[in-house]
Amino acid sequence: MLKDSTFSDAAVAAASRRFHWVTVDRDTTPDIARYFNVSAYPSLIAIGAEREKVYRWSGYQRPEPFLDQLAEARRRFALYRRGEPWDVPDPRPVAVLDEGTIRTWPAPSEKVPSALVVLGDDLWVAQTGTLYRLDLVGGALRDSLDLNALTGTSSVRGPATDGRFLYAMQYGWTAGLPTFVIDPVAGRVVREIVTEEMKVNRYYGAHALTWAEGLLWVLHTRKISAVDPATGDIVREIEPEETGFGGLTWNGEHLVVAGREALAWVDPVSGAIVRRLTANYPLRAVTWHEGTYYLMEQPVFGYNTSHERIRVWPERTLIYLVDMQ
């Protein structure tokens, strides 16, 4: 598509004269793709004299944003040629949101977060297969559960809670894989819930879940489905007009979703977004408790000058506590 449309655009072709272009085909020269650590296609990398990364981006783009990328590549290359730092990440806003009063706690680990939930006086934090139990008052780590060992799978989303048990579902809930009901005191799975009607699907795409009004609400693909926790049946579905969300909670009135670009409040009946706040950092996990939103961000990954994949943001993983009207 780049070659068929964007590359043939007159402005792109004109700007292209400011570079020396080389095509690297994955299938005929896979060693080069491996050397530059390329796994997304198409990718473009501006390199220095020693083949170091100067600037890198990927994905199909229309001419206008593609021209912006070319301009940025040239800007970075000029810095490189002058011997100035060229690979410093762009600064980002100082706060995760522009509204609310924000406090931070250090996260219990640097692993990728997936969910947050409050149960009693504990804040449970899920990070790559481990459930950490934090003191809700000060954020101190109390103990942890090995979620992968507990459920026998490494693709668990959640948890949510009904006030007694924790509910963790598999990424493949959308294909009929079970949701686990966990007794956090005993530290074991006490029951599994299966949504039979999802077994006809072949795709995986359950992102987050929350408990609201006696139902388990599941954020998946383009929908939010309300599941009867006794039967596993879907009893209601809404389709928000915006997608790209990875976190879900209930604030007593609305479903609240967190995603790459925003925090949004969703009407549980119509699916309409009734409030939307731009997120300064991509969000991954959200929960609400007594007026406070607890948020964690989706780490941003990039590549260093040697083409090794690195985490760019955040420098330290934090839990954001946001009090807002």
């Binding site: 400011r18 020396h20 272009w21 095509t23 005929t28 060693d31 080069i32 473009l44």
Partner: protein, 53 residues
């Protein structure tokens, strides 16, 4: 037209480049050729990774 033109990185990695394309972008035949040009012209080398030729 895609063809392997010469090696890169201690002579172990073959470079495939487009000698020409349907658009107006001018494609160099190898990374090494492009780096040599870059040293003279001070223009950056841009690698386009694809799988569709």
């Amino acid at each position: 037209m895609t063809r392997t033109v010469h090696s890169l990185l201690a002579g172990t990695i073959a470079v495939t480049a487009l000698a020409c394309s349907g658009g107006q972008i001018i494609w160099q035949e190898s990374i090494e050729d492009a780096l040599e040009l870059s040293a003279r012209t001070r223009k950056p080398v841009l690698l386009y990774f694809t799988y569709d030729g």
